[in-house]
Amino acid sequence: MRPAARLAACMVLAVAAEAAAQADPDLLAPLPPGTEVDATDDAVLAPSAGTLAEAEYRGTPQHFALEVRFGPYLPEVDQEFSGGQTPYADTFGDALLLLSLLQFDWEYLRIPGGTLAVGVSAGFMQAVGTAYTPDGRPSGEDTVLNIVPAYWTAGYRFDLFAERWSVPLVPFFKVGIATYWWWVLNAAGTAQWGWTPGWFLSPGLALQLDFFEEGAARSFDSSLGVNHSYLTIELLYASVDGFGRGQSLILSDLTFTAGVAFEF
């Protein structure tokens, strides 16, 4: 096809598309109040306003969730010594560490009332303290305990309230295996490293943000595929002590985390 003919064809298609879009705007708009609809024929072409809203926007598929959380953490290393020695407190004090976590979930099963998901999360926290001489004098050196917690998670999100009654609260519960990788640094480098397995459970509550700005939520979904956005807060009980074998650095704690989550 010659260029001139192609250009003409494109222009025709463009004009036709514009004309089609403007031909009957009522088809895409709610009916005016009081309009009577003949259920036998027009109902198929002109559904009621509520039904139309659902037809207009059904949302993108939802399979995954991504969550970023932060919270305080204080490893119970000294628990091993039953109140006698306190090497952790002596070195790092009792200041809370900042636990930062990133979680990825696969929402693989929809069951009545909610969603079952499996996922993994990992994060980082760091304790920095002064290295002391054997006779207790503080030196100019720092010693560091780095911890990378990883959680293998099975979770349930109870989103019945949000889906059915427009209550923007979604309780959830997570449980799983925890693996904390840790390493100790001194001025010369890595002094020791290891890992401590354990388990955890974590009930929480998510505030669905879609309810506060539906337009933005739909735009977020249509443009990026994000179905729902949440603010979350959850309790975290991590029993990370090597399942009680007594040969592990005890890194357990009862704490909470808060963050944001996105389902997509």
């Binding site: 010594f81 070195t91 099963l109 303290g129 099975a154 100790v184 290891g194 397995p197 592990s248 650095l249």
Partner: protein, 382 residues
């Protein structure tokens, strides 16, 4: 057809040749007319690999070593009745500035250099550039202009041609760092300091740390003895300037946590043997770990600042510490009786215990998967 050529004899051409020779001689006898300005090029410096290596000017070390600055200028022709001079100073192309009547007049370095087509080379030593009137290494921050002048040999020595080259000079020491402190570690010390408030950050290029004993193996003591005596007066001046520092100045005596006098004292001119670190570049850097120290030995530390010409300051206040064994967290943990084991071998649960958790998890997963497949099948049937 054959053309005939006019006959000319040698006798007929001779007057023409004589006239041309006379004109040429007359032209050469007159003072030459000025050509394009001369260019002066610095093509070699003793203390630099390349002439544009930083710092491009003259600093204290350059001056102290009588660094040779080798210049050259290029001539495309050699004028007659003129000579080539090299002068240092301001406006040396003015006759009045070359007569020596004033103390600020230009100083002649070379007179009547041999001119030839091509390069004419000449050398000027750094102390001459620092102070042409009294060559030496006085503390100055200035620019000296090098002049190459081709002067007509007339009564006023008018300038036939000239060129200049600017040499920047900084032989002033920056202020010594202040608030020098030291902390010990295991086989190491952590030295920290602050930049003197009188030093502009733009003029601060870096720092160097001095150690005694020097763990780098330099023979500090041998050089220190000679230097300390020579610099006693300057040291006293620097002491006053650094009075605000945290550490006590030693002045060659114990102080700043020191139990004995060391190789250097506050206010000394630093020598290479004392440096135990390289150049610590950046005015924002304020701390340095010195490694490789012997536990239980007292070490003396000081810091010098380096300005943008790499001039070192005088030695800062001297502080001391004794490196000692320290425990990191793991050592503290083990000393407390901690039973955890590190590495891959630690805390691997027994198979039975892992199974206690893993088997139910697998069963739960399988059940949920089966339920999901069933739900999907029902959907397909619908």
């Amino acid at each position: 057809m054959e053309h005939s050529r006019p006959m000319t004899s040698n006798c007929a051409r001779l007057p023409v040749r004589l006239a041309a020779a006379a004109l040429l001689a007359a032209a050469l006898a007159r003072p030459a007319a000025a050509g394009a300005a001369l260019t002066i090029e610095l093509f070699d410096r003793e203390n630099r690999g390349a002439v544009d290596d930083e710092p491009t000017g003259i600093n204290i070390a350059d001056c102290a070593s009588n660094e040779a600055w080798n210049f050259r200028t290029s001539l495309s022709s050699v004028p007659t009745n003129a000579h080539l001079d090299v002068w240092l100073g301001s406006a040396c192309d003015q006759r009045a500035n070359r007569d020596g009547a004033d103390a600020s007049d230009c100083v002649q370095v070379y007179g009547d250099l041999t001119m030839r087509v091509g390069y004419v080379n000449f050398m000027v030593e750094a102390p001459m550039l620092v102070d042409p009137h009294a060559p030496g290494c006085a503390e100055v921050k200035t620019t000296t202009k090098v002049w190459v002048l081709i002067l007509n040999e007339d009564a006023d020595e008018t300038v036939y041609n000239s060129g200049t080259y600017d040499v920047s000079i900084d032989t002033q020491r920056p202020a010594a760092p202040v608030s020098v402190t030291v902390d010990f570690g295991e086989s190491r010390a952590i030295v920290s300091w602050e930049m003197a408030s009188s030093t502009a950050a733009s003029e601060q290029w870096g720092f160097r740390v001095l150690c005694d004993p020097n763990p780098t193996g330099a023979d500090a003591d041998a050089d220190a003895d000679a230097d300390a005596a020579a610099d006693a007066d300057e040291g006293a001046e620097a002491d006053g300037a650094d009075a605000g520092g945290e550490a006590t100045e030693t002045g060659g005596e114990p102080g700043g946590g020191c139990t004995s006098g060391g190789a250097f004292a506050a206010g000394d001119e630093p020598i290479d043997a004392w440096y135990c670190t390289g150049q610590i570049v950046g005015s924002a850097v304020r701390v340095r770990e010195v490694e490789g120290l012997a536990n239980g030995t007292e070490y003396h530390f000081a810091v010098v600042a380096l300005d943008d010409y790499r001039n070192p300051s005088l030695v800062s206040t001297v502080v001391c510490t004794v490196p000692s064994e320290v425990n990191d967290f793991w050592e503290t943990y083990e000393a407390a009786g901690g039973r955890a084991e590190g590495g891959c071998t630690c805390a691997v649960p027994a198979a039975g215990r892992l199974g206690d958790v893993g088997v139910p998890a697998l069963l739960l997963g399988a059940a949920l998967g089966r339920r999901r497949r069933a739900a999907r099948d029902r959907g397909d049937r619908r």
